[in-house]
Amino acid sequence: MGGLRLDTESGFRTGGKSGQPAAALLLTALRGGAPGIKAMPPGKPLPASEIDTLSRWLDSGAPWPQAHWAFQPLPPATHSLDHWLDAGLARHSLPPAPPADRRTLIRRLSFDLTGLPPFYWQVDDQPGWESRFVDQLLASPHFGEHWGRHWLDVARYGEDDFSGTAVQPYPNAWRYRDWVVNALNRNLPYNKFLMHQIAGDLMGDPAGTGFMGLGPWYYGISQPPQARADERHDRIDVVSRGMLGVTLACARCHNHKYDPFTQKDYFALAGVFSSTAYKEYPLVPAAEAQAWQARKQALAAAEKALKTFLDEQAALLREQHAPGLSRYMLATLTGDPTGLHPVLYERWCNYLQKPEEFHPFLKSWFASPSPQAAQAFETLLLDIAREKKIIDAENKAIIAAAEKVAAKPLRTIILPGGYRSEEDFNPNADVPIKSLERDRFVAYNRTFLEGAAPLRFPPDILPQFLAPAAKARYDELLATRDRLKQELPPKFPYFDGLAEFDPHDLPVDLRGNPETPGEIVPRRFPLVLSNNTPLPLTDGSGRRQLAQAVAHHPLAARVAVNRVWLHLFGEGLVRTPSNFGLAGDRPAHPELLDYLAARFIALNYDLKALIREIVLSRAYQRSSEGSGDNRYFARQNRKRLPAEPLRDAMLAVSGTLDLTIGGPSAELTPQFRRRTLYAKVGRFQAEDTLSLFDHPSAAVTCEQRVVTNVPLQKLFFLNSDLVLTQAAALGRLIPQQDLASIYHRAFFRPPTAEESQAALQFLTEGGSYAQLAQVLLATNEFAYVD
């Protein structure tokens, strides 16, 4: 059955090389094979019951399964959210939970919509208060902060990368974060929101393209072709999973194992990202940015001139001071440096105190320090220096010749920070050159080059050895460098985004290896997502067309509404929020998911309206009381506050939270008072406190945060500076306000008589207000939302 494919209907019907339809041969193969027909699966036959099932399926004409639900068009939105959910519950014979009480609902809405505790808001108690309260929350700028962070998880937002040798920071990354927050606050329609992040530069506003402009970039982590291919892989992954809920990135090395995506689909899309470049967008007039770059270059040139001069002078000084070095050696014996340079004398003294193993040619000197031994060493060193000079000149010629013939890269790819992709972190490492013999090199190195070498002339001591003319030249070079350095202002503000690049198609990488290119594939959208009619992405890079196709695909709406549901109910209707493919989860209530997606489109992708509709439903407002699996959402879920609202709430109740919106990020220290959204997000190194509370890795798109509940988190509540600082602040409020108002801030309810009694007892037994406050902040009630 060579060439046979059973994962498509046409493959099954037409069969493989044998020319016979699969139906005719399948059972023979499954039942142990026959001459010319291999037994399948090899080695371990299927259980008889499964073969029986297949046999009955074949008998009934082998009806092919319905096309996958998620790839179907959306039916029009009819009825309502509650209609479809209640119908689903009835189908599963599940009684819905009663409504939550007012206090619970206020707290739930406040945290779910803004990530802040409820005591901030004024809520009236007239009928219909729920919708007025929801409107208040949706209009608050804190809505965008909280929901922006949800998107930043998907967008694998990070403020640095690993360059291969060091951390590469993105000091302007926060501008993209603020763009996201603002887009949500001004309720930019979701389709536009997506399009701007793929192709905003082609729509008149490149700010959203930080989605990809901020990387991850892999710089010199691996060889350039591999690193660039890995970057494109990330873009395909974040767009396909993050926006469309399909795992197209799985088709890099082979056709997708479950879903109808081919390797060609993958590289047809990879070509779009290969035709796109990183761009730094200055936020100052072009002339100002150019002037800054010119000054920066002038400084670099001055630094280079200074260094070249110092290197030349150091070489001259080595030549000048090498003859006569034996005098220094002898002087270390007598302790009399008369006529010698005091700096050099001291360094010779230090040098000759080192153990013998460091001196391959000093054995005779150490055995018996004598003028002869010193002279022999000097003669040897001068000979080595002569040889080194000749070799250096030869090597210079070899390298120059090699550089002349080196192939120029096809395209110069520039990454953030001006990093040139083809840049070799190890220049000319592949050019064979000549070298001193090892021990001769070691002797030379230890005398002239390495750290404590006595005849090394590093910049800090070199000037005092210069002749007047050279010293004047040095002073001039140094003054120029210092002046340019001082005059260079901080770099202008900019944001990291995308721009068009030389449009081109990519070959399929055989087995995913960029070193083995196969057939070139024209840029287009994945076939199965365009009704199997090729949708070319060839206008420029094709990004504008891609943005249009992604943002208006029914999958984008299905994925979006499921993510919204996830954040409001703690679980998605589809519990694999970034995979709606065959290997993903099926929706708990398929009609409900489709209703919400169609409704979202009918609402013109109005995210606030969608959220409003959901939180005002009976489904959302149900009590979270009950136990056992809640797959069908017969009740609300009890949710633990994620890292950000948990810390924000601590600062809020203790009265220290600074609610300023937007701006640069800062380290998350105990003194940092702003919302956690504004803490630096490391991709190279995750922030300790955030990751302790399950903040996701910024290296890959995150479909859903996990929730862990472990002792290390409790140690944080017991002993961290952050909690102790907040407890102290809250403790100071206790005598000023009274326990009732503290409880109102922390739990949005008055204390019970028993709780008041317990608190009083704790205080009378020697506990301080701060220690009491620490206990309140560490309670489950503080961290969980019913």
Partner: protein, 456 residues
């Protein structure tokens, strides 16, 4: 405290969802491990020492007499492409010793290790994919050359949990930071709680090492705080059907309280005698090995030790530097093996002395090295030493070619090594999967074969 993995039942195949709900319920890391191996485990814990930078096999664990005979001659058939230009074959400056009854030869720069070969298995046929540090370190740790995959230790935490709730289960030690750094012990898409706890152990003071471990209130007062907290939490939970996540949270707080006393003691090498510390050597690396012993004695699942900051073993210019590094490595690793053995721990503690790749038998000649007495990166062949934890002692496995360039016999990819390590710890690398966004991921991706012939 410890869980008997030898009495393991068949793996219950936790789904990701069940596993996460247990974690969220605060059931904790140990409970996940209860009997949850795929097959009886030979090793309960792992110490993985990384001689970072690239250990030269032909100067340490893979003697090549032909290399001496053909010293200075071109590599027959040409050298495979490595990072930099290489030239003629270069013999090792070191002699090899036979100091154990099994006869395994080891370089003179590891004189004490050479006497312990009866307990060690040297795999001489390792190979990896790329002759650059970063991708090779990623492959060694995370099974892929690019970032974004969980590390071996995180997989172990996910698969087995820890034996001691009062200590982090996966500890990474280095005096500073090795090349690449934190992504090497990342949990990536696994729950963040499984990531390695990284300690810059240049300080010996445990309170400087572990965050939030120093009690901030005297113990009597803290106890009263916890009693009040428990009382409030109990009332809260009772009104909520005693929700398991709330119960778990209450238990986790009690565990945290105990950790404050147990954890600092475990990390404090100053509690060891003067003579013990001297045996390991007064070096960062010696202290790491001693700390590793204290940690595994207390049930830490995996300790990973990076020899030093950046990549000390990356000796492009002068292979004699290996001798200086080995002088600190040899007493520390030998003492660790001896101590584990004398305490009966070597039987179920697996020790790996590994590296991201080997070095070329040919001398490096590229323009970025100032002198030609060193060796370039070599992804085609290298050696790794295993001891204890169900590995046969006194054997070597596989071979490189006559000059030690390429693995040729019983070739063992880094994926195979990882599959074998998981196997020894009771886990089937093809079944230790995590469904992330609809796809089952595993440490070995779609690769890896367990090297059965080195198993006891």
């Amino acid at each position: 405290m410890s869980i008997n993995l030898h009495a393991a039942r068949p793996h219950p195949r936790f789904t990701r969802r069940q596993m996460l709900s247990r974690l969220a319920g605060g059931v904790g890391l140990a409970a996940i491990a209860s009997g949850a191996t795929h097959h009886p485990a030979k090793a309960k814990r792992l110490i993985y020492i990384v001689l970072n930078g690239g250990l030269s096999q032909v100067d340490t664990f893979d003697p090549k007499p032909q290399l001496s005979r053909y010293n200075g001659q071109p590599v027959p058939g040409g050298a495979p492409k490595t990072e930099r230009a290489t030239g003629a074959l270069m013999q090792s400056p070191f002699r090899f010793l036979r100091a154990s009854s099994c006869g395994t030869e080891v370089s003179e720069i590891f004189p004490r290790l050479a006497t312990l070969m009866d307990d060690c298995c040297v795999i001489r046929s390792m190979y990896t994919d790329v002759p650059n540090h970063e991708p090779s370190l990623f492959l060694l740790n995370c099974g892929a050359i690019q970032p974004g995959r969980p590390s071996l230790g995180s997989w172990l935490m996910y698969g087995l949990g820890t034996e001691n709730q009062n200590l982090p289960g996966f500890v990474v030690l280095c005096p500073g930071i090795p090349v690449v750094g934190p992504p090497l012990w990342s949990s990536a898409f696994l729950p963040a709680v499984f990531q390695g706890t990284f300690l810059k152990n240049e300080s010996a003071d445990p309170y400087a090492l572990i965050r939030h471990i120093q009690p901030q209130a005297d113990s009597g007062l803290q106890r009263r705080q916890l009693d009040l907290l428990a009382r409030l939490n109990r009332q809260h939970a009772a009104a909520r059907d005693n929700d398991s996540q709330l119960e778990g949270s209450i238990a986790a707080m009690e565990t945290a309280f105990r950790m404050q006393t147990e954890a600092p003691e475990a990390f404090d090498v100053r509690l060891e005698s003067e003579s013990t510390r001297a045996r390991y050597g007064d070096s960062d690396f010696g202290r790491s090995c001693l700390m590793a012993r204290r940690l595994v004695e207390r049930g830490v699942r995996m300790v990973q030790i990076y020899y030093g900051n950046s990549q000390p073993w990356d000796n492009h210019a002068d292979i004699l530097v290996h001798q200086r590094l080995a002088a600190k490595t040899d007493p520390a690793v030998a003492s660790l093996l001896e101590d584990l053995k004398s305490r009966g721990l070597l039987d179920d503690t697996l020790v790996v002395l590994g590296t991201e790749f080997g070095r070329t038998p040919a001398v490096e000649t590229g323009a970025s090295t100032p002198v030609q007495y060193g060796r370039d990166h070599n992804s085609y062949g290298y050696s790794v030493v295993l001891a204890g934890g169900g590995v046969k002692g006194g054997i070597t496995y596989g071979a490189t070619d006559d000059f030690g360039f390429r693995a040729v016999e019983n070739r063992t990819h880094n994926h195979d090594l990882n599959a074998t390590l998981l196997h020894l710890l009771g886990l089937d690398h093809t079944r230790l999967t995590y469904n992330y966004s609809g796809r089952d991921f595993r440490l070995t991706d779609v690769h890896g074969e367990v090297v059965h012939s080195i198993l006891r």
